[in-house]
Amino acid sequence: MENLTYTQAVERLEEIMSSIQGGGMDVDKLAVALKEASALVQFCRGKLYKVDEEVKLLLENMDDETLC
C-alpha cells in the first residue's frame, strides 16, 4: 500500500464496493474485503490530514536553480 496513489486507492475502494454489492464476491472473502477497505480508507485519510514530509522537503528545496 506504500506505493499506492490516492487515486488508485479510491479506485480499489470502488471496485471492492461494487464487487460486494453486485454479489460477485465469495462470501468467504467478505471479511478480507472489509479489512482491505478499512486499510484503504485509513491510507486515504492519511493523505488528507497528515503532512507528507517527503513531499514537503521536495517542494521546499526546489528553488529556482534546481528548476532551470
Partner: protein
Amino acid sequence: MMNDIENPLTLYSLNNIVREAVSAALPMRYWVTGELSEVREAVNGHCYIELVQRDEATGELVAKARGTIWARIYSLLRPYFLEQTGHHFAQGLKVLLQVSVNFHELYGYTLDVSDIEPAYTIGDMARKRQLVIKRLTEEGVIGLNKELQFPLLPQRVAVISSSTAAGYGDFCDQLHKNSYGFVFYTKLFPAPMQGSAVEQGIIAALDNIARNLDFWDVVVIIRGGGATSELSCFDTYELANNCAQFPLPIITGIGHRRDESVLDIVAHTSAKTPTAAAELLIHAMLAQAGWLADVRQSVAGAVRGRLDSEKNRLQSLVQRIPVATALFMQSMHHKLDLWQKYIDASSPERILALGYSITRLNGKAIRSVDDIKPGDEVITTVSGGEFTSRITDKK
C-alpha cells in the same frame, strides 16, 4: 514683411508665423482618435503623451503627434478614465481625445488635450478581447484546460502571483489555516501581476512549473485584492493560449468587478478572489473527506447486505425442504397405489375368480393344445380348488 536673401527671417519669426497660421486655420477643438504610444506623468502634474496612428494592415506608423494634458485637466481626467475603463491611462491604449492644435516656436506641433471619451477605449478593448476569444475558439484551444480532470486531492499547489501582493498572503492563510486540518503544499512562482509584463511573467512561471509537472496537482494564478481592476493585461492571446494548453488545471483568482478576463475564460475554474480560490481547493478536499467517511460505512453496509441475502437464501432453502418432501411423498404414494392396483388386477386368484382356469400336465401349465395328447392326465386349477381329468380327444 520684407523677406529676401538680404533680409532673412529669424527662426523664431518663422515659427511665429507658423504658429499664427496654425492658430488661424485650426481655431476649434477637434475630436481625434489615436493610440497612446507614450504616456509620461511629470512631477508637476502635467502629462505628456505621444499619439500615433498605424496602418491597419502593416502596423507601420502613418501619423504621430505629441500632446500635453495640463495638470488641472489631467487631475480630473486620470481618475475618470480609470473609473470608466478599469484601466490606467497608459501606453498602448486606443483613445478618443478632444484636442486643440498648437504650434509653439520652441516645441513645435503639439496637441492640447481638453477631454477624453472613455467609451471609445472600452469599445476597442472589448473588440480586441473578442478577437482573442474568437481566435482561441477557432483554433480549438479555448476549452482545453477545462477538459482536464480536476485532481481528487488538489494538495500540491503551484501559485503564480506577485510575492508582494496582498492576495497571495490571503490565499496562503486561507489554505494553510483551514479549519478541517487538510494538508496543502504551496510554492510561489513569482510573476508581475500588473502592466505589460504580466503576459511574459506568467508564461515564464508556467514554463518553470512545467519542468516538474509531476510535483503539482493544480496551478493557481492570483492577484492582490484592492488593486485596481486592470484586466486587459489578462486578455492577451499568448497568455490565454499558454494557459489553455497547460497540462495541469489552472484556477484563477485575479479579483475583478467587471467582465471576466480572457484568462478566466480559458482557466479550468475561475474564482472571483484569491480567498475564493483557496475555498475552492478546500471544498474539493472536503468532498473527498466526506466520501471517505461514507465509504467505510458503505462497505460495511454492503458486507452486511451481502450476508443478509445469503442468510435469506439459506432460509428459503430450509423452508422449501418440507414442502418438497411432502410433494415427493405424495407422488410416491400415488405411484404405489397404481402399482398396487396393477398387481391386484394381475393376480391369478382374481383371474380364476373371473372363470378362467389353469390346466397343468406334470405340474407344467398347458399353453397349447400341442402340449397334450389323448390319454394324458391333467390337473385343472379353478377358483376354490382343482380337479383331475383325462384327455379323451383333442381337436
